[in-house]
Amino acid sequence: MNDLSFVRTEMLPERDPPPSTTGVIGWLRKNMFDGVWNTLLTIASIGLIVWVLGHILPWIWSPTWNAGSLDQCREIVGASGKASGACWGVIHERWPQMLYGFYPAELRLRPTLAFFLLFIALIPVLFNMISRRMNWFLLALVLFVATFFTASSALMIVVQIVLAAAVLYIGYTLVANSGSDRAEQIAAGARRLPNPLIFTALYVFLMPWLLWGGTIWTPVGAALGFVIGWLVFRLLAPVLGTLTAIILAFAAPVLWWLLLNGLFASAMHAILPFGLEPVESRQFGGLLLSVTIGVTAIAVSLPMGIVLALGRQSDLVIVKSLSVIFIEFIRGVPLITLLFVASVLLNIFLPPGTDFDIILRVIIMATVFASAYMAEVIRGGLAALPKGQYEAADALGLDYWKAQRLIIMPQALKISIPGIVSTFIGLFKDTTLVSIIGLLDPVGLSNSIRADTNWNGIVWELYGFIALLFFIFTFSMSRYSMYLERRLRTDHR
């Protein structure tokens, strides 16, 4: 009777799952044909997609890339025996204009370079997985590639050699030393490359100089303003007390920028003339205009929004009411109204001849508009934090700014990421509204292009191209925000 057993004594060998639950078939069964209703839904959806694509793709697939006018497009399409087809000749002829507007053709390297350098400047801010070496490598590489598009001269060859050497050297160290080796070297006291954030800070002054040109001394002077502010604070804080020093540290650079920077720039330019050919704002257009307005407004509206959100939660009556008034007023008017104020009303109030740059006016209005929204998004993040976090910060003995910087803001900003990125995307798309005040962004330009007798009557091709351009930007922003959320996820769900 011993050998009688009511449970198995040995393991059964593992068997493959039934074929109907694995592989493509399993996935299809699980996701698409799971029950009668889902099957019907799947078939209906596939039918719809096929029907839509069946109409759109033949239209898109149209050999009209080299056509010189709408009539030629029609001949080509007619010759191929189709009822209708897209006319891509317009994109072929006008894409440089859609990207750069009226920016002089021989200077278009500058905005292109500024665009690529923007990514180099943003990488250390946006991604933490890229090493310093990688960042400097990319910077040297972009500059090196850019030199090949400039007019060759003796100086340029020297620059090329220097940059090539830098690319090779940093590239070699990247390949030769793995990340962990490098970490050991650093721990052993090896000298690190400078922080790439230095370039990010420089880029703030570099970008306007590349885009608008002019003497190098204007951006240098603008940067000096910050140095002056810092010096004022450092020297006066022990003498006059912190609050007075802060106020003076804000006032001194503003005075410098308004009154002395122009003098400084022209004086220095007389001594050491170096600069790029100036380009007027009126020549900006197309995607260049959208990106200039969008990027500047995005970059400035986040810090402004944080300050406003904190101001709105402040206990100081004046700060609080100013923030509330600002936010509620700006949120209460449509962006288009602000743009009209920028384009029309300011002109009437400012004395004639005051050359207050139209793009600058628009950038200011877009920034102001976005920061009001940003403030409310961040306030939402602040409100979502448990009160215990504030109390814990107090209990640790942190002062207000330290508590905000170390405890409150990192959490509040993390919560607000989807809202912040939505605001950014909305702002970037809102830049197309400037076509209403006569600035030729891609949408405005599409109207101008249509006014060419060759292309009059073309609608969908232009709008499709613009949609594609904007989709690339907004979709990347949205993917980045999802990456950031994953990276910052600290909860243990």
Partner: protein
């Protein structure tokens, strides 16, 4: 109270500065460039080509003024303006002259304080309908749906016309001409109405233009012309007589082909006065003696500009019609250069 004070101070500053900088001619010469307001895009009248160079009937006038004042037809900065920004841009001195297919009306001239310097194109509102609709006159349009751009004088003209003829219509509001074209072709409206020049340009782009007719009725007067600000009559004179010089050149047979020859001296004293070989008309305007010669050489005389940009040899194919010289049955009639 403080804000009122600041606004008041700004206004005073603006007015005093306005008074101080009344001499537009000096400003333009100091700047070395003419700032000229044009349409952001209107077929045949103003549009940038693939290289970003503005071309068209209105743009050609800007070049002529720049050539007359500065001697260089390319010394123009074109400022694209929308219907909403054009008048404030001119009033706020963002542009020196507005050449943007603007209808000369009483209130714009008097109430908005502008100075229309003449008419460079006599336009009028018309109708376009598909041929298979079977109408031959706008008076047969009772009950039709009409595509109409909102916020323009065309909208008001349309209402006036239908009321005067005691027939009814149903408006389909549209925002831009491109939208109008698409809606009309999609059959969202029976009839499309806008300026006759615009109708011709629109019809020219259709796949089968002969399937559409432009009805004979012209229901409004739309004299389009360049304009300047009130308060600087000398500048207004320059703008007016540059336009007149272009028209007079056609009347006198001065073309860009024979102008060099005629400028050496001719038997016709009026041509000599126009081209600066006799008299001192340029000096009276505060310009060089060869101002009109430069203006004509910029893009040709009025007839040449017309033929190149909107005339019958172009896809737009507008006939001269009212815009012919008075001798040829039109109403272009410039005062003598004397």
């Amino acid at each position: 109270m403080k804000k009122t004070f600041i606004l008041g101070a700004l206004t005073v500053a603006a007015m005093s500065a306005g008074a101080a900088s009344a001499a537009t001619l000096d400003d333009v010469k100091a700047r070395g460039k003419l700032e000229c307001g044009v349409n952001t895009g209107l077929v045949g009248f103003a549009a940038p080509d693939a290289n970003g160079r503005w071309e068209g009937f209105d743009a050609a006038y800007c070049r002529a003024v720049a050539a007359a004042v500065l001697g260089d037809p390319d010394a123009v900065e074109f400022v694209p303006l929308t219907t909403k920004t054009r008048f404030t841009a001119l009033a706020a001195a963002e542009v020196d002259v507005l050449s943007r297919n603007t209808t000369w009306t009483f209130s714009r001239d008097v109430d908005l304080k502008f100075e229309f310097v003449g008419v460079n194109y006599y336009d009028g509102q018309g109708f376009m309908a598909p041929k298979n609709l079977g109408v031959s006159s706008a008076k047969e349009l009772d009950g039709a749906t009409v595509c109409i751009q909102t916020g323009t004088t065309t909208e008001l003209n349309l209402a006036d016309f239908f009321r005067a003829n005691n027939i009814s219509y149903e408006p389909v509001p549209i925002e831009t001409n491109a939208e109008g074209q698409t809606q009309y072709l999609a059959g969202a409206c029976d009839v499309y109405t806008t300026d006759a020049s615009g109708l011709a340009a629109t019809r020219a782009t259709f796949e089968d233009p002969s399937a559409h007719v432009i009805l004979p009725e012209i229901i409004s007067k739309e004299p389009l012309g360049p304009l300047v600000r009130h308060g600087d009559p000398e500048w207004g004179d320059i703008a007016r007589w540059t336009l007149n010089a272009l028209i007079a050149a056609e009347e006198l047979g001065v073309t860009s082909a024979n102008i060099e020859e005629l400028a050496a001296g001719s038997d016709n004293p009026e041509i000599n006065r126009l081209l600066g070989t006799e008299g001192n008309l340029g000096e009276m305007l505060g310009l060089e003696a060869d101002w009109a010669k430069n203006a004509i050489m910029a893009g040709g005389n009025y007839g040449e500009i017309f033929a190149k940009t909107i005339g019958e040899s172009t896809p737009i194919g507008l006939a001269r019609g009212l815009n012919a010289q008075w001798k040829d049955g039109g109403i272009l009639y410039v005062p003598p250069f004397r």
